[in-house]
Symmetry: C2
């Protein structure tokens, strides 16, 4: 693919995300507006629609990748995306439920260039807002009169349980030593924590297109593998990303001793750089120099290359799943554009 | 009612609760067993089925009042309680989701005579286990092939949002001064925090009996009012209850400066005892003597009597709602026995 093709595809994905937001945002805002006032306040801050004092803010509510996948999946399978808007909103709410709780659990104070909800409103309000957001997601699906809505609801609930398992594993890994987490465990964690919801988004889109369970499962597989590719790239950004883009300090994941995929790949590489990285991970790593040396060690231990190759491999698997559900891939242009977009953010 | 009648009715309710547990527990255990291992461990501890080290424990999973209400509501309306077992399990899971999160939020270290889940496993694991339990409740309803299940799911989700609002209000009240919470606000909070789920339990039971929306709404009203009566009694127990029965230290709610219903009724009574209580509430109240004087002030300010009269009034309203759904109240003996049971626990 030439540079121009890539740029065009990036623009295509950007246009898709923009179009998704125009379809989904009014419904997302209406759903959030239905929450009780004290909870709505936290939710509107979290989505970037209000400042902490309740005054209106221009900020957007994230990239809307998951709702875009829902709608694109419905379209790719011959359905009408308008039928799936409610499901797209539900998936976005479920995603934001995880963000609210993960920020509490991980004690992250910054997200999308702003203070996290718990840092502004306290842990109780952030936990409660997350709970209400999950219940709201479920209510939207339950109130949908379409016959597939119970299946969508069951899939979303199963997915949330998997997200919980992923988050739990992520926390548990932080407690272990630098050489006590295997790459397989780490891949399983990332699949649960990130792949599951992207898979669920695609599966729900497929459900609302009215296809059979096999095609729904294939679409889940597509989203899941694309999600893992996304996570690998996100992990690379967490180490080498531009703070102006990420809204987080440089090397934030390393400073937090996060056992992200490139880090674990490096730690388990058996190279001299792996030992060096393990030593850094056993220490406090609270200077910029140490964080920079850790990033360098991940690179020299092959963690950076491995993550890039693995991301490409997962994308290939994703496309293979997709081709089972959509034999003529030309109908799945939007899905492919979105998948390529999320896995090319780092470049 | 003579003392003998009361004892008989208490036994009747105890037998109902026992029977409910025998119907519901196997399904509750199977549902919990379906959770991923790391989350299941926390859930099994929380339910009292395992010790912290994972060894089996004989402890029971609470009184099963909410599942008993689901099944009794179905029966009272001519349905087969076996159809509603799944809904009963879902309601019990939703209830335990709130317990797990409320204990984190309120920093309560003891429940059912044991250390709370977060005190044993840490805040992240307890928050995650609560999240997964809520999703599991929703999954059970979504996977139920009966035609009413989406309506049940929508009602449970709406109820969870109301529970969240109630818990949020409860926390917010703690931040305010002793004379800055009105009795109306406090009653609204208790309705949301406790009434909503008991109402939802009865409404779900009605749904699974296949009655119309009006009867479902009346059953919701019954459970909601009975729930408020229950909360009033629970608040009295929180002040004057026997620690051996409650598993909490004597006057625990006063020592925690909780603005429970009898306390707010006392604080807003305009009596000399109200001023005395307000002064105690503005202080640390960390000695047994101060806690005892606060309890005495609530009593002299009329908070204790008010709560008892209000509980009786709410029970009368509950029965009025019930009679709209079940004109021949003799068919609703189980529901009435349960309602009387929960509001007589203090005696």
């Amino acid at each position: 693919m030439t540079h121009t093709d890539a740029a065009t595809e990036g623009n295509e994905a950007a246009a898709l995300l923009e179009h998704t937001r125009s379809l989904v945002d009014p419904h997302l805002r209406a759903a959030v507006a239905s929450l009780p006032g004290s909870i709505r306040r936290v939710a509107m801050y979290h989505f970037g629609w209000q400042h902490a004092d309740g005054s209106p803010a221009a900020g957007g509510a994230g990239k809307a990748i998951r709702p875009a996948l829902v709608l694109a999946a419905t379209r790719a399978l011959g359905g009408d995306p308008r039928d799936a808007v409610r499901a797209a909103v539900a998936v976005e709410l479920a995603h934001n439920f995880t963000l609210l709780h993960d920020d509490v659990i991980d004690e992250d104070r910054t997200r999308r260039h702003r203070a996290t909800a718990w840092a502004v409103f306290g842990i109780p309000d952030a936990v409660i807002a997350g709970d209400a957001m999950l219940a709201l997601a479920q209510r939207l699906l339950a109130e949908d009169a379409r016959a597939v809505s119970p299946r969508a609801s069951a899939r979303l609930s199963t997915c949330v349980i998997e997200l919980c398992a992923g988050q739990q594993a992520d926390c548990a890994f932080e407690e272990r030593g630098p050489d006590e987490v295997s790459l397989d465990e780490c891949l399983a964690m990332a699949t649960a924590k990130t792949g599951a919801l992207l898979g669920c988004a695609c599966a729900l889109g497929a459900l609302y297109a009215g296809v059979d369970e096999q095609a729904v499962g294939a679409m889940d597989g597509f989203g899941r593998e694309a999600g893992l590719a996304f996570q690998l790239i996100d992990d690379l950004i967490g180490i080498w990303g531009d703070p102006a883009q990420t809204g987080k300090p440089v090397g934030a994941d390393l400073a937090a001793h996060k056992k992200s995929l490139p880090v674990v790949a490096a730690l388990t590489s058996g190279t001299p750089a792996a030992a060096e990285l393990a030593t850094l991970y056993r220490g406090a790593m609270n200077t910029a120099g140490e964080v920079s040396r850790a990033a360098d060690a991940v690179d020299r231990a092959g963690g950076r290359d491995w993550a890039q190759v693995c991301a490409a491999d997962r994308m290939a698997r994703a496309v293979h799943h997709l081709s089972r559900a959509v034999p003529d891939l030309s109908a799945a242009g939007d899905l492919l554009a979105l998948a390529e977009f999320v896995t090319r953010r780092a470049h």
